[in-house]
């Protein structure tokens, strides 16, 4: 339950609660910034989901902790400036435990939950591991001030009724074999051996660099939503929502519901709501209804073709310049929620050796990957949203329970979700102008402060890495990799353990 507590940010006492993430508490207390870049500029959280590493702070003496993934605790000492580590011969000895799992599901979003429930209901022993403290993934992310909608609540109840083991706040860092995963947990490392592995690692936002995008106050669209759910107050703040994709609509509706002033959604795609809506109604009646409901929420918000070209501010965001390709205009604002669609979290599938094509995991009609006994579902196999995730989760659950023939009954639905994937990709494809947003001084790699100008003289991703350190920071290229791919066409294909930064003690 929520408990009022106080913690210390750079030595100052700050009132907060145990439902609030450290990132949100630090942003409120420190003008939106959580760290200094290596060149000394203030940075704030971008992704809100533990991927970008721009929210890292020193917590109780331990440097480089992602503050968006940690809840506030009484008396916590948080520092935003780097501090030398005091000599200390005592290292925490990580404990290692081993667990034999039947079906091991990685990711507790809708796809993972559907897979876990399905396999468990067919009598399989199921374990779910997830990096968040609470189940739900991104789209069903826990919201302390609002109970989940009925469909979500039903799935949570279904999961709770089954004896499924859930390992929260843990992430896979290595895979000695495709069926053996090593995870970092709050209590040391854990080795998980599965007979079947279902990958439901989801997606992250696609970020594109433009001048000023590193200012505190520029967030991902889903990123800001996640931060608000973890306690970042936005009441009465003026927010511009920009980028591309249906997520922008949901985010704008959510932010407004939570008290923000949202006047406009800038969608970069030349987008016809009528055409898209008609196609939706044809393929996905459920989505169409949801879309209409959303339209009701959004009344009064201008939805137009435009995109950001520059964010302004000295220490934090003060305004954004938008353009529609012909004219540009300035909008003063407190926050910019900006994401250019989603990219699949392919790191673990690649590490396991799963075949990838066009940036998604290749699967057959039973959700099987190219690696025996390993399945992939949800956004990993194509950005298609909730209905696709639930359906594929169900199919993978059947497959993992050795009843793959049941998948035949849903072939028609499966094809529909795939059409929707293509339709989304076509509708919200990124326009060429976005490749010209960065100027030579625009930072592309936020971890290592590598600029667009530095990258322009390189020949491929490896060359860029070696000569500029692009992608060599703690986010391991998760943010700049897809940006560089869009800007230069270079692919980052090397994945090695640790999949996420982890302590040496955990690797020993």
């Amino acid at each position: 339950m929520t408990e009022r507590i106080s913690l210390f940010v750079n030595g100052q006492a700050v009132e907060s609660s145990t439902e609030v993430s450290v990132a949100s508490a630090v942003m409120q207390a420190n003008a939106g910034a959580t760290r200094q870049s290596i060149h000394g500029e203030p940075r704030g959280p971008l992704c809100g989901m533990g991927v970008c590493f721009d929210c890292r702070v020193t917590i109780d003496g331990a440097a480089h902790q992602r503050s968006c993934q940690r809840a506030c605790e009484p008396g916590m000492q948080v520092e935003t400036a780097p501090k030398p580590i005091a000599p200390d011969a005592l290292a925490e000895r990580a404990t290692d435990s081993t667990r034999d799992c039947g079906v091991l599901v990685v990711g507790a979003g809708p796809a993972g939950i559907a897979a876990a429930c399905t396999a468990a209901e067919m009598g399989r022993r199921v374990t779910i591991i997830d990096d968040n403290p609470q189940i739900g993934g991104q789209i069903w992310r826990h919201d302390p001030v609002k109970s989940p909608p009925k469909q979500t609540a039903n799935w949570f109840d279904r999961l709770a009724r089954l004896s499924i083991e859930i390992i929260p706040s843990s992430q896979v860092i290595a895979a000695p074999t495709p069926l053996t995963l090593v995870a970092e947990t709050p209590r040391g490392t854990m080795t998980l051996r599965g007979q079947r592995i279902i990958l439901a690692c989801g997606a992250r936002e696609h970020f594109l660099p433009f001048p000023g995008w590193t200012l505190p106050g520029v967030f991902g669209a889903g990123g800001l939503q996640a931060l608000v759910k973890s306690g970042y107050g936005i009441g009465k703040k003026k927010i511009v929502v920009a980028g591309t994709g249906p997520l922008l609509l949901a985010v704008a509706a959510y932010l407004r519901e939570r008290g923000a002033i949202v006047d406009m959604i800038a969608e970069q795609a030349r987008f016809s709501m009528v055409r898209f809506g008609a196609a939706l109604a044809w393929n996905q009646p459920g989505k169409f209804v949801a879309g209409l409901a959303l339209g009701w929420h959004l009344r009064g918000i201008t939805y137009r073709t435009a995109w950001p070209v520059r964010a302004h501010g000295t220490k934090r965001l003060e305004a954004v310049t938008l353009t529609d390709g012909e004219k540009s205009w300035n909008v003063p604002c407190d926050a910019l929620a900006c994401g250019f669609g989603l990219v699949a979290n392919l790191e673990l599938p690649v590490l396991l050796g799963c075949a990838i094509a066009d940036d998604f995991v290749q699967v057959n009609e039973r959700q099987a990957t190219s690696v025996p006994h390993v399945y992939a579902i949800g956004e990993l196999t194509g950005i298609g949203g909730l209905d696709k995730a639930l359906l594929e989760g169900q199919i993978a659950g059947w497959s993992a329970a050795d009843r793959p023939q049941l998948a035949r009954n849903v072939e028609v639905e499966r094809r529909k979700t795939q059409r929707f994937v293509n339709q989304l990709a076509d509708t919200f494809s990124l326009r060429d102008e976005l490749r010209r947003l960065p100027d030579d001084d625009t930072i592309v790699c936020r971890c290592e402060d590598v600029t667009f100008g530095q990258l322009r003289s390189r020949t491929n991703w490896r060359d860029a890495k070696l000569q500029t350190r692009c992608g060599m920071g703690p986010c391991q290229g998760r943010i700049c990799g897809p940006a560089v791919q869009f800007l230069f066409g270079w692919h980052n294909d090397s994945v090695r353990p640790p999949l996420f930064p982890t302590t040496l003690a955990n690797l020993a």
Binding site: I38, P176, L466, Q467
Partner: protein, 373 residues
């Protein structure tokens, strides 16, 4: 068809240094690589510029090369991250302290400044080392560099003197000194320098070079956590012992504030993948010497292949029955350090100029099986 005096195959740090030196003496040079600059062993290496005393020949080569780096240091671009750091060779016990005293005398007789640290002085120099170590040998003038940018800088110097660079093109045909590239281009050169590391065996299958795989790990930024490269004295046993697999504690502070942790050696392992058992052993060795390392965040690991010869000395000089082909490979773990000296020796071979040190110990012809091949 392009023509040149010398084609240098391999744009790693050794090829880059050779290209620069050859261009500086006025030869027309083309540098070739099938990949970007410095993307083989140079990218994987630690970038420790150090004088080593494993043999007289190794000492001579490393000492000369370190002096050459000192000459170049003021000119290097910032991204080369050149930094004088010295080296702390850590002695765990009294037996290793005896070796420290021997080395101190050996280096001193040959004009390299070192100091002996007792246990307390070592603890003062590096407070994060575990307590109870016997002491260390401190080599004053050793240094650190970021190898990929150093290689690029050397190539830029060569290009400023007219050298040409051809990247991302593989050599698919070699007839005498006429080279055919995978993109269809042909280059007719007077001489060829082969600076291809372990890949030397793709053109000279009997070359006495074997891959020795190494693992490395880098941490996030912890400025000031250590201030010198720290290597266990047992490193030399690990480096040149007969075991198929070995690890040794080797930790470096990078200019960025990051820490680079090595090292491991495996003979004749072909796979590039990180091998968990080796990574674990390597880290465990590091924790034995520096337990507080355990709290630091590791952000990346990688592997690389050293080009090792049977006597741990490089192959620098002509191929016996192909006198227009010259080797510059087999540097094992010392390619970054000895690249500049190697380039000087290659220049002496190609131009007949007087070499700064004896050419003899590094001649490929020293290996009988090589002579017959």
């Amino acid at each position: 068809m392009k023509t040149c005096d010398v084609a240098v195959i391999g744009a790693g740090i050794v090829g880059a240094a050779c290209a620069r030196a050859l261009a500086l003496v006025g030869l027309s040079v083309v540098v070739l690589d099938r990949a970007p600059i410095a993307s083989g062993a140079t990218a994987a290496g630690m970038g420790h510029l150090l004088v080593l005393d494993d043999s007289e020949a190794q000492f001579a080569l490393t000492k000369w090369s370190c002096e050459r780096w000192t000459d170049l240091a003021p000119q290097l671009s910032n991204d080369c991250e050149f930094m004088y750091s010295g080296t702390l060779w850590v002695a765990a016990d009294e037996e290793e302290m005896a070796a420290v005293r021997q080395k101190h005398a050996y280096y001193g007789e040959r004009g390299v400044a070192t100091a002996i640290l007792d246990g307390q002085a070592l603890a003062d120099a590096e407070p994060n080392l575990r307590h109870g170590l016997a002491g260390a040998l401190f080599v004053h003038d050793d240094a650190l560099i970021y190898p990929p940018c150093a290689a690029r800088w050397l190539i830029e110097q060569a290009r400023a003197r007219g050298a040409e660079l051809r990247l991302n093109a593989d050599v698919v045909g070699l007839q005498d000194c006429d080279i055919q590239l995978s993109d269809g281009e042909e280059i007719s050169s007077g001489r060829v320098v082969h600076a291809t590391g372990t890949w030397i065996r793709s053109l000279f299958p009997t070359a006495p070079v074997r891959p020795k795989k190494g693992h490395l790990l880098i941490t996030d930024r912890y400025p000031g956590f250590i201030t010198h490269p720290i290597v266990e004295l047992g490193y030399l046993k690990s480096a040149h012992g007969g075991q198929r697999e070995s690890v040794a504690f080797n930790l470096q502070p990078r200019k960025t504030g990051q820490l680079l942790l090595g090292s491991s050696r495996q003979i004749d392992v072909a796979t590039r993948e990180i091998e968990p058992h080796m990574l674990t052993r390597m880290i465990a060795r590091g924790l034995e010497y520096m337990p507080s390392l355990g709290r630091l965040s590791a952000i990346r690991t990688w592997t690389g292949f050293r080009a090792a010869t049977p006597d741990s000395l490089p192959l620098i000089g002509p191929v016996l029955d192909q006198p227009r082909h010259f080797l510059a490979t087999g540097h094992e773990g010392l390619g970054i350090t000895t690249s500049l000296a190697t380039a000087d020796l290659i220049v002496a071979h190609l131009t007949g100029s007087t070499p700064p040190i004896s050419l003899m110990p590094y001649l490929p012809a020293r290996f009988a099986e090589w002579e017959r091949a």
